[in-house]
């Protein structure tokens, strides 16, 4: 059913803005324009809006003209074959790479070209494809590290053990334990992070990212290496996180069961370009998507 026009039309602005007419008008001017128009119309600024994002490495266009609009509270999937540039998109969004062209708006604020630290403080947190925990720190300390910018006292106050140290540390412990219990990790809080089983390490990474109190959570292949049971459990957790923290989530995933099960909308990347985007069921039935994954 979905040729390229209908895919564009079903783009996120159309859905959340509930302004099908607007979308139809904007059809010829391209997806980004439609989305902006739709957002303006309804007054709701999307949590993430990316326009024409590109980067090349040594002449190879790793990401080419990437666009996406993610509304607040949405669970959005970014899929595509290996090497399509999905993780590169994450690295661009989090400031690991600086884009050659394009604009990234978070809650309407331009964050293009900012440093990773600044982008995290603006409200984007992420997990990594290959788990990156603080392996020699305890599970609790991993989450407390995530609270670093939200519960503060100075180094001197810490060394001299002034009252502010005890007060803030107590707050941190409470907040961290709260987050850990969401992921059912509270009993393991004293474990070294590297001693957790694989599935729990993935969860801990999500907990740590959430500790930074983000507006947008990026999950890079959260189900990688998990068995079907663990994946099912993870799906529940992701849904729960969205409800509990009113979180907007963008995730990269190869597990189509997970994608189909929890993502509301999808963008498909192929060779660095957006192949199609739209509602999950439509995108997954798109012939070109199937071809991109399986070949002709």
């Amino acid at each position: 059913m979905a040729d390229s026009k209908s895919v564009k039309m079903t783009d996120s602005a159309a859905k959340s803005g509930a302004a099908a007419g607007q979308a139809a008008v904007g059809e010829k001017t391209g997806a980004a324009a439609v989305q902006t128009a739709g957002a303006e119309k309804t007054g709701a600024v999307p949590t993430l809006e990316v326009k024409n994002l590109s980067i090349s490495f040594g002449g190879l266009k790793a990401v080419d003209g990437f666009n996406v609009v993610i509304e607040k509270g949405q669970l959005y999937g970014l899929i595509g074959p290996n090497g399509a540039g999905k993780t590169t998109v994450f690295n661009l969004l989090t400031g690991v790479y600086k884009p050659d062209t394009g604009v990234i708006l978070l809650d309407g604020k331009n964050i293009t070209g900012k440093k990773t630290i600044e982008i995290n403080q603006e409200g984007i947190a992420r997990t990594f494809q290959n788990i990156r925990l603080f392996k020699d720190l305890s599970v609790l300390d991993n989450v407390k590290a995530g609270l670093h910018n939200h519960h503060k006292y100075s180094t001197l106050e810490g060394i001299l053990r002034l009252p502010s140290f005890y007060k803030v540390e107590k707050e941190m412990n409470e907040r961290a334990m709260e987050l850990l219990s969401v992921f059912d990790l509270d009993k393991e809080c004293d474990y070294k992070a590297s001693n957790l089983p694989y599935g729990k390490q993935r969860k801990l990474e999500i907990a740590r990212a959430l500790a930074t109190d983000p507006k947008l959570l990026l999950l890079d292949e959260p189900a990688a290496g998990m068995n079907p049971n663990e994946t099912a459990e993870l799906m529940e957790t992701i849904r729960f996180v969205r409800e509990k923290f009113d979180m907007t989530i963008l995730l990269i995933e190869h597990d189509m069961k997970l994608v189909a099960g929890i993502c509301e909308r999808l963008t498909v990347l192929n060779f660095g370009q957006v192949l199609t985007q739209g509602e999950t069921s439509e995108v997954l039935n798109d012939r070109r998507v199937i071809t991109a994954y399986l070949g002709e």
Binding site: N120, H148, Y191, N195
Partner: protein, 353 residues
């Protein structure tokens, strides 16, 4: 629960140092201390401070530094210089020594910061060789530094005493190139050394178990992840590095006040000294401050205690070093140890951070 465990661990470390002090006091009163061992007491404290402070850089921050002796050298010279300068202005030796300790730490800390800014971008072995290079540069520069004072104020030279161009009557040479600084009062005592060691422990242990320490260790464990959660990499690297340098500077001041002549020679402040301190840190265990103190004290005392064996002592020291490292770090030895331990305990205990 973790918090209590940390408290117990720290208390054991402090307690061990205090107990050591008490034992030495008792032995001293009862006349069981040889003069050889008495002379070793201040160096023992100094090396323990150096090892703990270097462990902050190597074990906690996770960066290999081979320039620790350079910071110690800076502290030693600025401290001894101050003590000699204020000889008439501040008659109390104790007060001058105290001021010297602060100045030495500040000077070394500032240099740590200045060197750290360009250098900490490098990684691994490259960082190691550059810190080694900085240590050698500091030592070489101080070796050719001449400073004198007369009625007109201070005079500096990089050549010799005559080119200081001082007034003949009132001129006093304070730092005399390769001959260094002479006449520093020998105010360093074992008790002061132990107090400084306790201060070092207080700073380092409290730092580690605080928000700052967590940030530093998160950088060590995974820089990219630390950045992704908003931790400022450069700020915390510099903080750890300069605190480590400042404490080394303080140890240097202690050292300077235990000798009548302070020279910036290779034996005192060369890269071999930095390596020696690194040996203490690695054998004591990375990030393990108590281990650093034990290793520093044992390995400093060992060659002296082996003096009876005379020529063979350094040879034995070298063999001990090789065998201990293999025993500590070889995968086969670790496996063997864990098998033996689990037999002894009758079961494997889960490792807890």
């Amino acid at each position: 629960m973790t918090k209590n465990k940390v408290r117990v661990q720290n208390a054991v470390t402090y307690g061990m140092v205090i107990l050591f002090w008490i034992v030495i006091q008792v032995m001293d009163r009862t006349g069981h201390l040889t003069s050889l061992f008495k002379g070793l007491l201040v160096p023992l404290c100094m090396y323990a401070i150096l090892a703990v402070s270097l462990n902050l850089t190597v074990g906690i921050l996770g960066e290999l530094s081979l320039g620790h002796a350079g910071f110690m050298c800076l502290g030693a010279f600025s401290g001894a210089f101050l003590t000699n300068c204020l000889e008439t202005a501040v008659p109390s030796v104790g007060l001058r020594f105290f001021m010297a300790l602060i100045l030495g730490a500040v000077v070394a800390g500032i240099f740590g910061l200045l060197i750290g800014i360009p250098v900490l971008r490098l990684k691994g072995d490259y960082l190691a060789i550059v810190t080694l290079a900085f240590g050698e540069i500091i030592k070489n520069l101080i070796n050719v530094l001449y400073v004198g004072r007369d009625v007109n104020g201070f005079h500096f030279s990089m050549k010799d005493t005559t080119s200081l161009g001082m007034d003949k009557e009132t001129g006093v040479v304070l730092i005399k190139g390769a001959q260094g600084i002479t006449g520093t009062p020998r105010a360093a005592t074992f008790t002061i050394g132990i107090l400084l060691l306790l201060l070092t422990l207080f700073i380092v242990l409290n730092l580690i178990h605080s928000r700052t320490g967590r940030a530093i260790m998160s950088i060590r464990d995974n820089r990219i992840a630390a950045e992704s959660i908003g931790i400022h990499i450069t700020k915390y690297k510099l903080m750890a590095f300069s605190i480590s340098a400042a404490l080394a500077g303080m140890a240097g001041v202690l050292y300077a006040h235990s000798l009548s002549t302070l020279k910036a020679s290779s034996d005192n402040f060369g890269y071999n000294k930095s390596i020696l301190i690194l040996v203490f840190v690695v054998l004591g265990g990375l990030g393990n401050m108590r281990g650093s103190i034990i290793a520093a004290m044992l390995l400093t005392a060992l060659p002296e205690l082996l003096r009876g064996l005379n020529d063979y002592r350094m040879l034995i020291y070298a063999i001990v070093l090789i065998v201990m490292t293999i025993f500590n770090s070889s995968p086969k030895a670790i496996e063997l140890r864990s098998v033996v331990m689990s037999r002894l305990r009758g079961g494997v205990k889960k490792e807890v951070a």
